[in-house]
């Protein structure tokens, strides 16, 4: 701070404006605290995780250095491959579904009567903790549950085995679509609402149908919003954990069937399975693999989706 208060004239390199110099002077006091916190809470733990991943360690006691061997061990584990595939399925399949639906809704809702109410309704599921959906799944889909009871009057005596192990992951994906579509619709709608109405008028005068309106007006003018949403979804989808845990894992008695595991669940069970010796080395290795993959995906997406911002 003394630097700020000192009366010394600011020595500034040639070609740097006064404003620029002032900005530079404020860089440390403004960025410093945040950077310090970020280092403490994110960078240090991440570095520690990387360090742990080079060891065989049950969480306490001596650490045995094994170098990179945890990585091939995890990568070759068929269970990790399955979990990783599930993570990608959520990222891509659920992601595409969500954005198709979100764009469709923003089209429909743009000049719909009572759109505020509708928006609130479709946004609502996002406010509910995912655990609730996991816990409700039992009530709704159990053999004697709500769905089958409702189907009975329609003559459905042999309803599908909703909660069979093979179906759980599909149900999880459907739930994710339901809970996230409203959220992204709301964000996209905010982008769509910023588009000046003249563009839509011009489009309708030119005889555009809804799809063309989407293609030539909405998507180009909300591209920035969409690109940000896509990155948000990528990052959050990889961290989805509690919904899967509760959907298949019941209320603290068991763990979800391995067919519905994602990389996050794999990491958790490897570290905290509760009934066997924790393998922190393998767990952190799987977390690091996930982190690196997601970083690469995000970078690629930014690269692919980069367009010059349209000013309007």
């Amino acid at each position: 701070m003394t630097a700020l208060l000192s009366q010394r004239p600011v020595r500034r390199p040639r070609g740097v404006s006064l404003i620029e110099a002032q900005k530079r002077k404020l860089f440390l006091p403004l960025v410093g605290p945040a950077f310090l916190f970020y280092t403490l809470l994110v960078v240090v733990p991440s570095a520690a995780a990387l360090w742990i991943s080079f060891h065989r360690w049950p969480g306490a006691g001596p650490m045995e250095f094994v170098g990179l061997r945890n990585y091939p061990r995890v990568a070759k584990d068929p269970l990790f491959q399955q979990a990783f595939l599930n993570t990608m399925l959520i990222l891509v399949v659920v992601g595409v579904t969500i954005f198709v639906l979100a764009f469709a809704m923003s089209l429909v809702l743009r000049n719909m009567w009572g759109k505020g109410t509708v928006r609130a309704v479709i946004f609502f599921p996002h406010l509910v903790n995912a655990l609730v959906f996991g816990a409700l799944a039992g009530f709704i889909f159990n053999p004697g549950g709500l769905v089958n009871t409702l189907l009975r009057p329609f003559g459905v005596t042999e309803p599908p085995a909703w909660l069979a192990q093979d179906n759980i992951f599909v149900l999880i994906m459907v739930t994710l679509v339901l809970t996230h579509t409203g959220y992204f619709t709301t964000i996209l709608m905010a982008g769509v609402d910023r588009i000046p109405p003249d563009y839509f008028e011009v489009a309708s005068l030119a005889g555009c149908n809804a799809i063309q309106r989407l293609r030539y007006v909405i998507i180009p003018l909300t591209w920035e919003v969409f690109a940000t949403c896509a990155v948000l979804w990528t990052i959050s989808s990889v961290k989805i954990f509690e919904l899967i845990w509760v959907f298949g894992g019941s209320s603290g008695v068991g763990i979800p069937p391995t067919s519905s595991w994602t990389a996050a669940v794999y990491t958790y069970v490897t570290a905290f399975s509760g009934q066997s010796v924790p393998a922190y080395g393998a767990a952190t290795a799987s977390a690091i693999i996930s982190l690196v993959t997601v970083s690469i995906i995000v970078l690629l997406m930014r690269r692919i989706m980069r367009r010059d911002a349209i000013q309007y």
Binding site: R73, G138, F141, S250, G274
Partner: protein, 435 residues
Amino acid sequence: MLHSATPTRRQLFALGAGGAAAASLAACGGPSSGSSSGDSITYWSNWKEGESQQAVMKAAVAAFEEESGITVNVEWQGRQVTQKIVPALNTPQVPDIIDGAFAKLAPVLAATGQVLPLDDLFASEVEGEAITDIIPEKFRSESTMQDGSPWLLPTFLTSEAIWYDAGENPEISEAPPANWEEFIALLEDLKSQGRTPLAADGDIGGYNVLWFQSLYLRLTGVGGLNELVSDKSGALWDGDAALEAARCVEQIVQGGYLIPGYDASKWPAQQQAWATNDAALLLNGSWIPTETAPYATKDFEYASFPMPSPDPSGETIMRAEPTGFVIPLQAKNPEAAAEFAKFLLRMEFQEKIAAEAGQIPIREGIETIPELADISAAIDAADNTYLAADGVTYSGYMETVMQPLNDELFLGKIGAEEFISAMKEAQIAYWEAQL
């Protein structure tokens, strides 16, 4: 658009130095815990406020403080205590004593060498009686030890059995099935009466696997399952016992005895169905009477019989999983902690554990609640007892190798032979992947 100010190299360096300082701050633990005076201990409890067992523990803590003058700082952590203890071991905040089930504490504390050997404690006395006389020998087997020393002071046992409503099924109480053949005959009989013989929550892998594990142990004796799992060559899966146990499980699945929808429901749906007499039998733990009481039909008379053996000529064995106290190696006040642990072995608290918390106390000759009379008598009568999963704690083995494949067998996707060959293959792969 304005140009953003790019930071100079010196500013970045200053940031870097700040980051390094933050890193070194993070590296050393938090503030050191207070003085390690001899007049207080920290107890992390596996019980939560409001549970009946917690009330017993609370009374014990109060009585102990009164008598010894030692303050007990209790944290009622609940079952997560075993997950919280691992990170805590790397900080100065290690509790002096924690309690929990053997199967949960063994992998995180004993297997990692973080437990205090309790030889001295086991050699001492409670109310004038030697602890070795109080705790029956069969609960002090080699398998409950680490490097030849006991590390957990048991206060009560949990077990497993096949449960039924004695009021609805008087014929079972009169003559419970003594072997596998009689058990299948009973299932057939129930089926022919138009009743659903068996309930099972098929989404809980740990429950599904009880069938195979219990049957296998009854064919090989205590320690057999551990040996099977430890076999890096997988050759033991080619043995007769593995195939016979798997065939018994297949018989249950293929016989149409299981409640419809058991393979597509969410716990506790099926144990609820059982507690309301929609199915006659349920294989589950000794906690079932307490757990299902809130929704069981009125006048439900809890009764049980042990898992029937396909080979009745062998010795009779029962699961007896101890729950009790462990003192971490880094405890600051282990002597006072040991004194507190012993307190729960007193007759007064053993009786409370039985009557008020509805558990099977470790001491013999104490009357349990009527619901647990059968299971407690079976443990007393057994020649030998085994731990949950026969004490297997290998990293991820049960969760990722045995349970998923056993689920396929128990949910009717594969048969016994296929299960055996898949298990053998998966086990070889598991051991190859271990570093």
